[in-house]
Amino acid sequence: MSVTVDTPRVSYLTEENTIGSWLLTTDHKRIALLYFASITGFFFLGGIAAALMRINLLTPTGAIVSHEMYNRLFTMHGVVMVWFFLVPAIPVTLGNFIVPLMLGARDLAFPKLNLVSWYLFMTGGLFATYSLFAGGLDTGWTFYTPLSTDYTKGHVVAVAIGIFISGFSSIATGVNFIVSIHRLRAPGMGWYRMPLMLWSLYATSVIYVLATPVLAMTLILLGFETVFHVGIFDQRLGGDPLLFQHLFWFYSHPAVYIMILPGFGVMSEVLTTFSQKGIFGYKFIAWSSVAIAVISFFVWGHHMFVAGTSVYSAITFSLLSFMVSVPSAIKVFNWLGTLHKGYIKFDAPMLYALGFLGLFTIGGLTGLFVAALGADVHLTQTYFVVAHFHYIMVGGMVSAFFAGLHYWWPKITGRLYPEMWARAAAFLIFFGFNLTFFPQFILGYLGMPRRYAAYPPEFQVLNVLSSAGSTILAVAYLMPVFYLGYSLRHGARSPSNPWHATGLEWKTQSPPRTENFPIIPIVTEPPYNYPRPEDRTRAA
């Protein structure tokens, strides 16, 4: 890019740079960066726990830690990754930064609430991680009763309080996004003129607002049961342990869609930009996000096919689970349609996005294995399930996160990242990921149960393969820290629209000023309105 870039002298980054100006900021872009720092920390914390687990599983008897320690590690991995990385990740960082810019607004609807949500998140996060370190917890992130309430010595209540507090940060973010999308669209931006990222964040926010409070109440009751042993979930006092599972999954299944829906949004942005072509099936992609959000509230029972619920409930939830995967399939087909006849460039965001497309498809298809009742009986609670949801959560969501991060990096920092390094990392992540998790599908089919600190020797070869893959994955995940960090100071200055993309966020300077747009833009065209080069040449 040989265009000379007139470096903006003033931006949200240069405005005022005292510690107070960052910690008390109400600017959505700065809050996004605060969140970004926190999320990165939690990601590596969860990652270290995962790495230790993979090392331990190198030998059948457990290479480095005791059973008890292993149980604490996978609990920490689950709790931290789910609640303090995956659930907030894209919305609070990329979403926070990009939503007002995409809307053509100067900030979110409730800037102070946005800041409060970060403090809630940090309070909950630090509280929970401190408890995980200090006392340890060995129930898994699912807290199944009566193990969690009566039989563990771990700090159930403390961790639950941490999750409870940070849950309110999710709710605050959800409220903020929904109101912003309703109220702060630039003049001329009808619902169908919104970028699809906004549709998917809207759907995500609906789940934030409606599912999180159920988890909050569930955690309160769990805490009461743990401390006072009152018998809501305790069969010895006439309670019902399955009641907890119903309540827990009523939140936690929609939460899976909280994690992946924002990734869908990133996909639609990146694929169109790097195909220089309009999206295929805009309305189908938009409404499929909404459909996923709605149906996701009615599939929780598929976590309990062998748990002792009735056959009728299993059949109903199986059918609904197949139904919820239809909108995802629609999205994949439409993204492929978007590539058709495009002008495809393979910059790093696009590589991550194509990686997402492949890995998410595998994750989605293996989801059908566990939605099909007869097959689920064999596969559930084995490594097959572990592999399945990591293909969705890590292969899908984390790839989308990196795609979005690289895509908007020039906008966020005003600098270009080193392209070759980024491409190398994208390939390495794809390779390392598959080597780590593909063997786990086979392990699962062979019957290796999840959450095992030790295993029968015949599973060793596949476990070693998986651990080897995780080493590559660990290195690949560390690479962006270095090259993105390097680009902060030494990267080339970015023009306002390095990718020739169409969204409103590219129509303002990089990095933007605090008020985003000197003049509020007026939207006069549909989203992704990329000119066809043929037309250009014909015109010339």
């Binding site: 007002p100 607004a105 100067r106 900030d107 979110l108 609807a109 409730f110 800037p111 609430l113 709710i171 959800g174 409220v175 903020n176 929904i178 109101v179 309703h182 109220r183 702060l184 607002v209 409606l210 599912a211 999180t212 409070p213 159920v214 909050a216 109440m217 569930t218 309160i220 009751l221 009461f224 006072f228 009152v230 018998g231 809501i232 006092l237 006439g238 309670g239 019902d240 009641l243 309540l247 009523f250 008020e515 509020i520």
Partner: protein, 206 residues
């Protein structure tokens, strides 16, 4: 007015939308509790009946009346400021706060009596006999629900106090009274939560 809004009205509408969404969240929050409550009630009908008979219907009913009146007074304040009478608003705020405090005091008395009567789930629970287990679960819900509701009341009283303070400062006028409206919405919701709890706690046995 924040710089992302085009007009005060725009901001006011957004604030109301925000509060409505917050209340949707609250409905799911208390909704989960009520769901589990009703589920357990079906599991232990006798225990719940026994426990309800020991709930203090008199205080509960007085409190219901107090709370309904407080919603009325606050709404009167909102109407007053929409007519441009901040003094009336301040009076209404203090009436509301007074009623809220009365509610909390009565609630405190009720809790005090409950604890005195040994209605605390655990080893020393005073309702013995075959239905004791169910009754204990009832009292768990009773305490969780009433404490959470009381917390909402305390937050509400704080908000009304803040409204009164801002009204005194002359922040509100006929043209602009968004915070009053938003707080009013919240206060009414806390009222509605109580109206859901009241029959569950006091009337289920009748």
């Amino acid at each position: 007015m924040h710089f992302q809004y085009s007009s005060a009205e725009h901001q006011a509408e957004s604030a109301m939308s925000g509060m409505w969404l917050f209340l949707a969240q609250e409905i799911l929050f208390f909704g989960a509790l009520v769901f589990v409550w009703v589920y357990c009630c079906y599991q232990h009908p006798a225990g719940f009946r026994l426990a309800t008979q020991h709930a203090n219907l008199l205080i509960g009913s007085i409190n219901t009346a107090v709370l309904l009146t407080s919603s009325f007074t606050f709404t009167a304040g909102l109407l007053a400021i929409e007519r441009g009478e901040p003094r009336r608003l301040i009076q209404a705020c203090f009436a509301t706060i007074g009623l809220g405090v009365v509610f909390l005091l009565l609630k405190g008395v009720e809790w005090f009596k409950d604890v005195g009567d040994g209605l605390v789930p655990g080893a020393h629970f005073s309702l013995t006999g075959p239905d004791s287990g169910g009754a204990q679960i009832f009292y768990v819900f009773y305490y969780v629900a009433t404490v959470l509701h009381a917390l909402h009341m305390i937050i509400g009283i704080g908000l009304v106090l803040w409204i009164a303070w801002r009204a005194r400062r002359g922040d509100f006028s006929r043209a602009w009274s968004t915070p009053v409206e938003v707080v009013g919405l919240y206060w009414s919701f806390v009222d509605v939560v109580w109206l859901t709890l009241y029959p569950l706690i006091y009337l289920a046995a009748l």
